[in-house]
Amino acid sequence: MANTDAIVGWKTITFGCHVLEPGSSAKFRTGDWRSQRPVLDKEKCIKCGMCWIFCPDMAYSRTEDGYFEANMEYCKGCGICAHECPKDAITMAPEE
């Protein structure tokens, strides 16, 4: 899943190895590192958004019904959301 745009030769690499495209880190899918995933218990969730704020990979986005859902292409399974959730609504489940 890792972005293969980075595979370049020394003659074709960008000047100074600069990244010339803003926001291009979205192309770098960090989800394949994950060994566990966050699982949400909607019964407990109060839609406070702490998981969304604390996720270091900005994997969370708000869904139409007001809950927060992590994008598994980016979630690297760090467990910070589960740790920060004030209602213990998130548990980390092992990836198969």
Partner: protein
């Protein structure tokens, strides 16, 4: 019009920076570089130079500021020496691969321990592989000229690399010499405004200095290394145009009585002038001795050096740095590598001299030449020799 004045070399170098109309100077004072940045700070305070002086808390911060200001598109200068250069070291490796054309003057000085404020080349040699273009000045005029040349070359869009002008601490930095100071019009003729290839601009965001994962790190370093090698053409062109405008011609290596010489002294920096006096003395006695002086240290001008040396029998290579446990001094090692397995290569003998401010006199050069003559006949036991060191 250019004016010839009696001026301290540090002040003349700072004048070159002022005439280059830099935008940012971020520096921390250290002996023997102090007068350079003192003069610049004064020029900025009095309004003679319209620039920002950042009085940083350390050399590490100085170089960090320089990286930032150069990345933002500002013409940037700093200067350091010895222990200050050591504190800067972590950051010194960064502007090269990032292609940030910072210009720095290094007033070369010994390293602790023991503490020494005096001149040799150990500071810069410890930073040999930082990936900057590096030149060595022989006298005050050269220090002035090479500084302007450094801005011109470093900022050339085909180069876009940081550049160091080395001047010997005290021997050059604190000496008053007659130096031709170019006028503003003349400098403007030679040095175009800085137009960076890329710069940090919130309206057109880019990232400088991302992580280099194993898949790209080698390629990034190779690209930088090749850029340094390719810069030689622009360096030489910069000198050629300088000569066309102002009449002083500089080359990657200079020679003195080298054509018919049997033995060549190899030097860098200000001791080259003493070496020329020594050669005159030895020539008067009928000895066929000459000199090759290396002005451009990085990128190393291999073909130019080989051509300058010609078919000479032996090189007496002078290093002003003693790398403990190495096979030879840095210049000695460089040249042995350059001539390895080259048919009819000269014999190379390496002499370490002038450490921590010890004078390298005419007598010392004669001693090196005498030893070289003996070593041509009978190989010495050691790969280098420390000249003038007392045993007891």
């Amino acid at each position: 019009m250019a004016k010839r004045v009696g001026i301290e070399v540090s002040i003349a170098l700072a004048e070159a920076v002022r005439l280059a109309n830099v935008d940012v100077v971020a520096a921390f004072p250290i002996t023997p570089q102090t007068h350079i940045i003192e003069h610049l700070s004064e020029s900025i305070a009095t309004g003679d130079l319209d620039a920002n002086f950042i009085p940083v808390e350390s050399e590490h911060a100085a170089m960090s500021c320089c990286c930032g200001s150069s990345a933002a598109g500002a013409r940037t200068f700093t200067s350091s020496s010895s222990q200050g250069l050591m504190l800067m070291s972590e950051v010194l490796f960064i502007p090269g691969p990032l292609r940030l054309p910072i210009v720095m003057a290094v007033a070369n000085r010994a390293l602790s321990a023991p503490i020494s404020i005096w001149n040799d080349h150990q500071d810069i040699m410890s930073q040999r592989d930082i990936g900057w273009i590096q030149t060595f000045a022989e006298n005050g005029q050269e220090a002035f000229d090479l500084t302007l040349h450094a801005f011109r070359v470093a900022e050339d869009r085909r180069v876009s690399l940081p550049m160091i002008v080395n001047i010997d601490g005290f021997i050059l930095s604190h000496v008053i010499e007659p130096i031709e100071i170019l006028s503003q019009e003349e400098v403007d003729q030679y040095l175009p405004p800085f137009k960076p290839v890329y710069r940090l601009d919130p309206r057109r965001p880019i990232t400088m200095g991302p992580v280099g994962i194993p898949e790209v790190y080698t390629e990034a370093r190779m690209a930088h290394s090749e850029a340094i090698k390719a810069s030689k053409r622009v360096i030489i062109q910069g000198w050629k145009e300088f000569a066309e405008l102002f009449g002083r011609q500089y080359n990657p290596v200079e020679t003195y009585h080298s054509e018919d010489a049997d033995i060549l002294l190899i030097t860098m920096g200000s001791i080259s002038e003493t070496a020329m006096t020594a050669i005159d003395t030895m020539r008067d006695k009928g000895q066929k001795v000459g000199l090759v002086r290396i002005r451009l240290w990085r990128p190393f001008p291999g073909p130019e050096f080989r051509k300058a040396v010609g078919k000479v029998k032996a090189l007496a290579v002078v290093d002003r740095c003693l790398p403990p446990g190495a096979t030879a001094g840095p210049v000695g090692t460089e040249l042995r590598s350059l001539f390895y397995k080259v048919p009819s290569a000269p014999k190379i003998f390496n002499f370490i001299a002038g450490l921590g401010g010890r004078d390298v006199t005419v007598k010392r050069f004669e001693e090196m030449v005498d030893k070289t003559k003996a070593y041509i006949k009978k190989r010495p036991k050691e790969l280098y020799e420390v000249i003038g060191v007392r045993e007891k």
